[in-house]
Amino acid sequence: MKKRWWLFLLFLSSALLSACGSRLGANSWPGVSAADGQVYVAAGPAVYALTEDNGRFLWAFTGQDEKGFSAYAAPALSPDHTLLVVGDYGGVLYGLTPAGDVRWRFAAAESHYVASPLVTAQAVYAPNADGTLYALDLNGQPQWAFHAGQPLWGAPVTDGQRLYLPSLGHHLYALNPQNGAVVWDVDLGGALAGQPTLQDGVLYVGTFAKEIVALDAASGKILWKTPATGWVWDGPTYDPTTDTLYVGDLGGKFFALDAKTGQQRWAEQPDGAIVGRPTLADGVLYFPTEDGALIALSVDDKPRWQYAVQGHLYASPLLTKDHLLLAPYKGENLVIALDLDGRMQWALPVKQAEAALKASKK
């Protein structure tokens, strides 16, 4: 009897540890990008390419490594759309053609590529969770590396003169894009997980110190700080017509702020944490909530519509010529395409995408 008891405990523990362990594999939400009528979705074990007009499967990329490929950050495109850069959680960066063929592979990083790389006409800037920003040329040849010493989860932004790099280690760095030399460096008192917003020489960032901060891009001088109700994961969206910033926080609050002063113009409190920045089109803001709603709100705070998905919405909706593209986390659909009135145009179920992937491997 006692032996059976021991054996039962052993198998129970195995089952529970395995079940819990498998959660370690689910790391981030899918990232979407699009160009020239194609949609690219990084959804863990594969990067899918679909047609933008109807979501038809084109190809899938599953890495070249013997280790399990896993990519979540939205694939980044070069300005001429001839290079697609994908970073995976095993620390490998791939340069692909728009047809999904590997042009180059860079495997020097030691940790996850959480953020999308920044690809300019001259270079690829890829932040890694090992605390290093890797600068490569467009052929994947390393040019320089900047060691921040703390995980880098946010994509950099550039004005051509400087490269602005957020770090989970509370610092915002301005670097020389030619050699990675530090121009200035500011400690903002909380982790920076999202890409800064750069507008007219001013940088706007959200921090885990529950603040939205504006800095002078030339000097790094803090211009203003505004408190939020929770961690601010991503940078704000700027509306030039009203000189307003829009940003949500993990406390679930959505703010409209005066870009000059940081003063609150209005705020909303929908259900669920807000991680991704809002997308702005024709005076309407579209922002995702963790509870799985895409909320459309006019810039003067008038509700337009809501679209609920199964699963969670963390990433910002991607605006293309005809669609708003959503990639839910743990939903039944890999991608959902809406029109700007919130009507679904097409959706690609996860099961269908996986079946297409399987068939393409045969």
Binding site: K3, N27, Y89, G189, A191, G230, W231, Y314
Partner: protein, 253 residues
Amino acid sequence: MWNTLIVDPMLNSLLLIYQLVGHNFGLAIIVFTLLIRLLVYPLTKQQLQGAEAMQKLQQDPRWKKIQEKYKNDRERLAQEQMRFYKELGINPFASCLPAIIQFGVFFGLYYAVIMGLAHAPIELINLSKHIYPTFDTAKLIPLQSHFLWMDVSRPEFLHIPGIPFGIPTLAILVGITSYMQSKVMTPASGGGQQGAMMGQMMTIYMPLFLFYLTLTFPSGLGLYFLISNLATVVQYAMMGKADLKAMFRFGTK
């Protein structure tokens, strides 16, 4: 319920220790594991004593006689067994209840360590929901995951100059200590051939399973397994129940 009562208090205790030991998550896991093992020591002791009493009973000639007498009547045997327990003042659940409580603590600790490692965005968002408001999360994040040569948020491999591949030292240590732990914890094979086989299965299966987990998951978890295994062996040794010679004899005790 599980999170509110077990995981969240453990997670926040772990984070408090993290702050107290100077923002080192590896060290925090070690201190936290040892503190928990110390807290459940009375339960471990009670469990062992209960198991010992049950073992003695198996050898009692009166019990053997009862077994022989009612070998074809399982229901009556069970009744007689309960009567005999009562007569000797043995509570058959004395070793089970502490084991169940320890099991809950073990999984709470395991979940707290995994949650605290938060090595990717979803895990970090999840962590933010479980941290008590008394913590200044701005200072807490990012959790410093470097400990000795390891990054506790990633699987561990020791790279030695001249050797082209990394050696999974932590996984090896976890495998060895799990074997030692299984040896001291598996009750003596009083149950005949079947019992011996089961005991052997546990001493082989568990170390291999934990070796695999440590090899593939963040090393913070492996660190927790290692300290937990060592703490169990030391606890048994303190109670005079760890036979070092038997520990390294392959097979049953």
